[in-house]
């Protein structure tokens, strides 16, 4: 079977892509209007929602970049990925009920819709749409790039397929993604998420145990090897140090409530009661899928330190290298399909919310009807938005996938946590506070990131932007006149 390793991997990837196309065609029949396209008709069951939520968040940033980050920084990266389980809980208690009730009551089909209804302010809608589009292009570009890297490495190792350029691999993988998003909208997206989530869970468990078995002495052997090389790398805070790790924990735990591709899924559920199962299930699923990140990252660091595996040129390569060298061919095939799954499940969610912002929210914010047939234009815009993201991917910097992903995550967290996660719970929150918090946090995070500003001790830039955003949001709200809230909204906030 070893001789067919690459063919088996390619076969799994092809099966997976065909499955996505079939789901897209099936979902097209069920997509009849804009509410179906963006909100899945608000009919999703708890299992589908939970799987869609966890797989939307576990992106290429996690599955491709995560092992690389653990390999590079040791136990520091635990703080980033382990905080997300706490994040799911915070999201569940802050937003699970409120966002669903607000969504149904105000007939919102997107997050900017919801923000505009809550604050009765079109500038809030516009700023949130801009935040979403900016975040989506960057984040989606990163996902497409990660997907192309995996596809290219698969094809490179299969002798019977001619090698293709990175541009061609970007185009092939994006075509499948765009196809099922254009045809089936969010319905195709959530149902492929279920397939993708299941693949991710199975691969994570199998790979974790494979990784531990690869190193002599298992986890103890890994820990001892890392300790002997550098005690800090396997201490409480790893190579990054205390404050860097704690700032990661803060931004990733609180920031989950600001991820638009995740929280909009809570608006699609059949009813609020489902949250009882949805929130814990998505939290546990994410926790289990983290095992793949930890397993590969730690095992590869130990194998390289022991001289068993040659030192990789880039930390991002460790996941693919581990699968090619140490996993059973069938398992490698499943996991590589899982890597695709992780990337695609996030990318499709981004396409969906980005298109909603362009077709539905910006025209509303500026008071004009730009697109008469929203469903038709949503499909066209899906293609255009993907094309812009592909261009971004082709020309983006070569920073580590995980760190680029962290930047995208923080951009959303800083702009959306105060406005939505706090704002849907706090009657005193004002539109001015929300607008200032969003505008300042976006400006700040882009200034810190694009200006290449170095922050001492590796404090996360996103944490700074989110704290500034929160501080502004609270202080402006406290110092302004209490807002007049629609009596219905007021009653909903009391429920």
């Amino acid at each position: 079977m070893e001789g067919y390793r690459n063919s088996i991997t390619v076969l799994f990837v092809i099966i997976y892509m065909v499955l996505c196309i079939i789901i897209g065609l099936w979902a097209m029949k069920r997509t009849k209007n804009t509410e179906d396209f963006f909100m899945a008709g608000r009919k999703l069951g708890f299992f589908i929602t939970a799987m869609a939520m966890f797989s939307s968040l576990m992106s290429g940033f996690g599955f491709v970049g995560g092992p690389g980050l653990i390999y590079r920084m040791g136990s520091s990266a635990f703080w980033m990925f382990m905080s997300v389980t706490m994040g799911f809980l915070i999201m569940g208690v802050l937003l699970g009920k409120r966002i669903r009730l607000f969504g149904e009551f105000t007939k919102s089909v997107s997050l900017p819709d919801l923000a505009a209804a809550r604050y009765k302010n079109e500038t809030t809608r516009l700023l949130m749409s801009i935040a979403i589009i900016l975040g989506v292009i960057g984040y989606l570009g990163t996902q497409i790039m990660a997907m192309a890297i995996v596809l290219q490495s698969v094809i490179y190792n299969a002798d019977w397929i001619p090698n293709i350029s990175s541009t061609a691999s970007i185009l092939i993988s994006s075509s499948v993604l765009v196809f099922y998003c254009v045809t089936g909208g969010i319905i195709a997206s959530v149902y492929t998420d279920v397939v993708q989530g299941t693949i991710m869970l199975i691969s994570a468990i199998l790979i974790f145990f494979t990784a531990l078995a690869t190193v002599d002495g298992g986890l103890s052997g890994i820990a001892t090897t890392m300790f002997l090389d550098d005690s800090e790398s396997i201490g409480s805070f790893g190579t990054l140090g205390m404050i860097g790790c704690l700032s990661w924990y803060f931004v990733f735990a609180v920031g989950v409530s600001g991820q638009p591709h995740l929280i909009t899924k809570l608006m699609m559920t059949r009813n609020v009661s489902q949250n009882k199962q949805t929130v814990p299930l998505s939290m546990i699923s994410y926790g289990i899928s983290t095992l793949l990140i930890i397993g590969i990252g730690l095992a590869m660091r130990a194998l390289v330190l022991q001289g068993i595996h040659p030192s990789p040129a880039k930390a991002d390569d460790v996941a693919a290298l581990f699968l090619q060298s140490y996993a059973h061919p069938v398992l490698a095939g499943v996991v590589i399909a899982g890597l695709f799954a992780a990337v695609m499940s996030t990318a499709d969610a981004f396409l969906n919310i980005g298109v909603a912002a362009i077709v539905h929210d910006i025209p509303k914010a500026i008071g004009r009807t730009l697109f008469k047939d929203e469903l038709y234009w949503s499909r066209i815009m899906t293609i255009i938005l993907a094309a812009v993201a592909i261009i971004f991917a082709l020309y983006s910097s070569k920073e580590m996938v995980a760190l680029l992903g962290a930047f995208g995550f923080s951009t959303f967290a800083a702009a959306i946590v105060p406005t939505i996660a706090i704002g849907l719970n706090w009657k005193r929150a004002t539109a001015t506070a929300a607008n200032v918090a969003m505008a300042v946090s976006l400006t700040l995070i882009f200034f810190l990131q694009l200006g290449n500003i170095n922050i001492p001790y590796g404090i996360d830039k996103g944490a700074i932007a989110m704290l500034v955003s929160l501080a502004l949001f609270f202080s402006i709200s406290f110092f302004s006149k209490p807002p007049k809230i629609d009596p219905y909204i007021d009653e909903i906030m009391d429920l």
Binding site: M86, F105, S220, A223, S231, G235, K276, I459, V468
Partner: protein, 187 residues
């Protein structure tokens, strides 16, 4: 509670501000052939000597001791912020439906776990020796088995107290009535 959240955010921001003025340790100066001196700050990782794609932490005592208490304070306030958001999210108007008691117990476990992380990390950097617990150095095991797993406690309150604290049939009824009322007005 928003007042508490705002105070915590300000203090967290203040601590970050203080960190901007503390010189990162360890650091070293390099002088090139032209006599220009550059300082390289290595408090957040140093490139590995033989494997450049890897970072090492270097001397833990030198980099973590000077900032230990300030960083710990950031961590404690960060966890307080998180706990407060959970209390805030699960608040109800009726005192009989308030999960405060259970959330308080869970919060104590979270805070205790974080203090455990700090205590064992302090020991780890001061007496570098490998004591394994659950196949990991004891300081890392508090993070993995403690910090990672504590949200499960809160989620148990969420699952078992869902009907009592979060949402039940009466709430559903109230919402439906509200929706009907609004639809009538809209028509």
């Amino acid at each position: 509670m928003p007042k508490l959240l705002s105070i915590i955010s300000f203090f967290l921001l203040l601590i970050v501000g203080v960190f901007l003025f503390i010189e990162e340790q360890p650091n070293r100066s390099i002088t090139d052939e032209l006599g220009n001196t550059t300082t390289i700050y290595e408090g957040h990782g140093i490139i590995h000597d033989t494997h450049p794609s890897m970072l090492i932490g270097g001397p833990g005592k030198q980099r973590s001791r000077p900032i230990f208490f300030l960083a710990s304070l950031f961590g404690i306030l960060g966890f307080l912020f998180i706990i407060t958001t959970i209390f805030y999210g699960m608040r109800t108007k009726s005192p009989a439906r308030n999960p405060r008691k259970w959330l308080f117990y869970c919060s104590i476990v979270v805070v205790f776990t974080f203090f455990g992380v700090l205590y064992f990390y302090w020991n780890y950097i001061n007496n570098i020796e490998l004591v394994l617990f659950g196949s990991l150095p004891i300081s890392a095991s508090w993070v993995v088995y403690g910090i990672w797993f504590t949200p499960i406690l809160f989620s148990l309150v969420y699952i078992f107290g869902f009907e009592q604290f979060i949402w039940n049939k009466n709430d559903e009824e109230q919402f439906k009535n509200l929706l009907k009322k609004k639809n009538k007005v809209d028509q």
